[in-house]
């Protein structure tokens, strides 16, 4: 049996040799360079000091990509969109030179490193596990979470790329537009807006802490009583809950992944007698809108496009 012991020993030595090397390998990220102006960002993982103006930025959430584009910065790398061919339609043109680095849930560390970024922007909810590793590639800033209101993260992103002023201008522009619309909409905001989403195998009724829910609230739109709730959505609804979809006007969106399952489901529900029985359906106030814009993309550009949609519907 000694032979086995020997094999085991040899094997362990091999491994130890490999591990022993690791501790000394903290990279020295160019400390000796000419002193540039530096700034410090406080974020979900602590404080990060960034030197100079970051030129090569990698973004690891889709709403982050939109925030950067809005501030006139094109990332060198970004995570792929949830639908569509690599990017969403509304950002594809601006991202044509951007390299995809994988999915939001598990972006490829090597693909990110390959881009030699000087700043990485990610999200604690998605990538907390690899924060230290990302930090070895470049200074990394994480937003805390993902939720309906994108403005919180937007502010952080503007600090991260040291464009707080541009960011504030953009936010002001957006919020001014909201105020103007609110004024011109006037009485119309008393209409109760209902929102429904169809996905393969699931139907949801959207509440206030969703991307589109937040925007509707900012505009001062009323919501049907059963949707006027501070959480995200009612998931997995059965047809029995169709009456909760009623309102003065309904926008619905369908998350289609390519196998036509969601579209099939949408048609089935829309044509259901219970659905046809809704006041909003009888009044012909049911509208299909883009799932990407109203829900999935969830960033600055999508918000603007959603406002465009709303303007059209409430002219």
């Amino acid at each position: 049996m000694k032979k086995f012991g020997l094999i085991l020993m040899a094997f362990m030595l091999m491994i130890l040799a490999a591990c022993g090397k690791t501790d000394e390998k903290t990279p020295t990220s160019g400390e000796d360079k000419v002193k540039e102006e530096s700034y410090t960002v406080t974020h979900a993982m602590g404080e990060t000091t960034i030197k100079g103006e970051p030129k090569r930025i990698v973004v690891l959430t889709n709403e982050g990509v939109e925030a950067l584009l809005a501030m006139g910065v094109t990332p060198v790398g970004a995570v792929e969109a949830f639908t569509g061919d690599t990017w969403y339609e509304h950002t594809a043109e601006q991202l044509k030179d951007t390299k995809p680095v994988g999915n939001e849930s598990e972006p490829s560390l090597e693909a990110i490193a390959a881009l030699k970024p000087d700043l990485i922007i990610g999200n604690k909810m998605r990538q907390e596990k690899v924060y230290e590793q990302l930090n070895k590639i470049a200074p990394t800033v994480f937003a805390e979470t993902l939720r309906g209101d994108w403005q919180e993260n937007f502010k952080l992103y503007s600090q991260a790329i040291n464009k707080e002023e541009v960011g504030q201008e953009k936010l002001d522009a957006y919020n001014n537009r909201i105020e103007e619309m609110k004024a011109s909409l006037g009485e119309k905001t008393q209409q109760k807006v209902s929102m429904v989403r169809f996905m393969a195998g699931d139907v949801r009724i959207y509440h206030k802490d969703s991307f589109s829910g937040v925007i509707l609230e900012q505009l001062g739109f009323a919501r049907p009583a059963e949707q006027d709730l501070p959480d995200f959505a009612e998931k997995g609804v059965t047809k029995e809950r169709i009456p909760a979809m009623d309102g003065d006007i309904m926008f619905y969106f369908t998350y289609e992944t390519g196998d036509k399952e969601a579209t099939k489901l949408e048609e089935e529900w829309i044509n259901d007698p219970l659905f046809q029985n809704l006041e909003v359906a009888k009044a012909n106030k049911v509208f299909k809108v883009s799932d990407t814009i109203w829900n999935t993309a969830g960033g600055y550009l999508a918000a603007q496009l959603m406002l465009d949609d709303l303007e059209k519907h409430f002219e």
Binding site: L109, A114, R147, F232
Partner: protein, 345 residues
């Protein structure tokens, strides 16, 4: 396989074991060298020993090596755990992931993600605690299974059946929590249940490695007890060994190994089922040679799966658990079919 048929490795288990670990080493080198930046073996070795470019070293030592090491130990742990369980139950279809250990860990993970979240869906504790929770879930579930199957001792028979049922129960529980929890955490939980080595780091490896090695070494030290247990209760009692006590100790080792593996890598399936099978075919049923050889096979399986996960669709990651199932499951069927002809399943 032909080469294995020609040489009777049951008589030369040492050679077979050396060969399989040479293969493991080769795969480790290949995996270390491939990715977004291909590194030649000489560059890999240079970076390993502290030479070469700094960038190469970051890529290799901070990104690739932790994954490779984790795949190595996860594979070995799952395989040895399966070998022990199959030995104790004298059943070739037993495996730790079938009797509820993995399902229990999944349940604990989903629980962790929902309980430790604030109203903004942000985790209020560091994600570094998640493996501990998974481990607790795995071991607690195993203890429940042991307790439920206790009836004047643990009959392997009852253990397996009750384990399967408890696994189903835990799955139902997981489904309920996923339905109740916020949607963002659902996708995190699914990736976890599929099993993934993504994002492994050295601090994880430094916990996993000593645990796995320690438990594997203890199980090798218990080889005599194991070989007696495999002969069956009658003979075992005749020899005078404390069957129940030994069985319990070995079960705990098996659970510990799976627990620590799933804690870091999630529900990577089929390794614990498959590796001991291949080992028994090639080096025979003797416990010590079988355990070492299946450790090698398990490591190979997970290493290759994670290599594919990382490289095949880059930059998109396809979790390693998808590949162990895709490769392991059909091979498992093939294995059973061909073994059947020899008359001993």
């Amino acid at each position: 396989m032909k080469i294995f048929n020609r040489i009777d490795f049951t008589r030369h288990p040492v050679i077979a074991t050396v060969l399989v670990f040479v293969a493991v080493g080769t795969v480790m080198l290949i995996s270390a060298g491939s990715g977004e930046f291909p590194l030649s073996p000489s560059k890999v070795l240079a970076a390993l020993f502290g030479y070469g470019e700094e960038f190469d070293r970051i890529i290799l030592i901070d990104f690739r090596l932790p994954r490779i090491m984790m795949a190595l130990f996860v594979g070995m742990a799952l395989a040895v755990s399966g070998a022990i369980l199959q030995g104790i139950t004298k059943n070739p279809l037993a495996s730790p992931d079938l009797i509820g250990v993995t399902a229990g860990a999944s349940f604990a993970v989903v629980l962790f993600l929902t309980v430790f979240s604030d109203e903004n869906n942000a985790l209020i504790v560091s994600i570094q605690w998640l493996p501990l929770f998974a481990f607790l879930g795995a071991t607690l579930t195993a203890l429940i299974v042991f307790a439920l199957s206790w009836k004047n001792g643990i009959a392997p028979f009852r253990l397996l059946l009750i384990g399967i049922a408890v696994a189903a129960f835990m799955q139902a529980g997981t489904t309920i929590w996923i339905l109740m929890g916020p949607i963002y955490q659902a996708s995190q939980a699914t990736i976890w249940t599929t099993g993934s080595i993504y994002g492994a780091n050295w601090s994880q490896v430094s916990v996993l490695m000593p645990w796995a090695l320690l438990l594997i070494i203890i199980s090798l030290l218990l080889r005599r007890q194991m070989n007696i247990l495999e002969l069956g209760d009658d003979i075992a009692t005749g020899v005078g060994s404390m069957v129940q006590r030994n069985r319990m100790i070995l079960l705990l080792i098996s659970t510990g190994l799976t627990g620590v593996a799933v804690a870091f890598a999630g529900g990577i399936g089929f390794v614990g089922l498959l590796a001991p099978h291949i080992a028994r075919r090639i080096v025979g049923p003797k416990f010590q040679s079988m355990v070492l050889f299946s450790a090698g096979v398990g490591a190979l399986l997970v290493l290759i799966a994670d290599w594919i996960a990382r490289v095949a669709f880059a930059p998109i990651e396809v979790p390693a658990g998808v590949w162990t199932a895709a490769v392991g499951a059909p091979y498992f069927i093939f294995l059973l079919m061909t073994q059947r002809k020899k008359g001993g399943a």
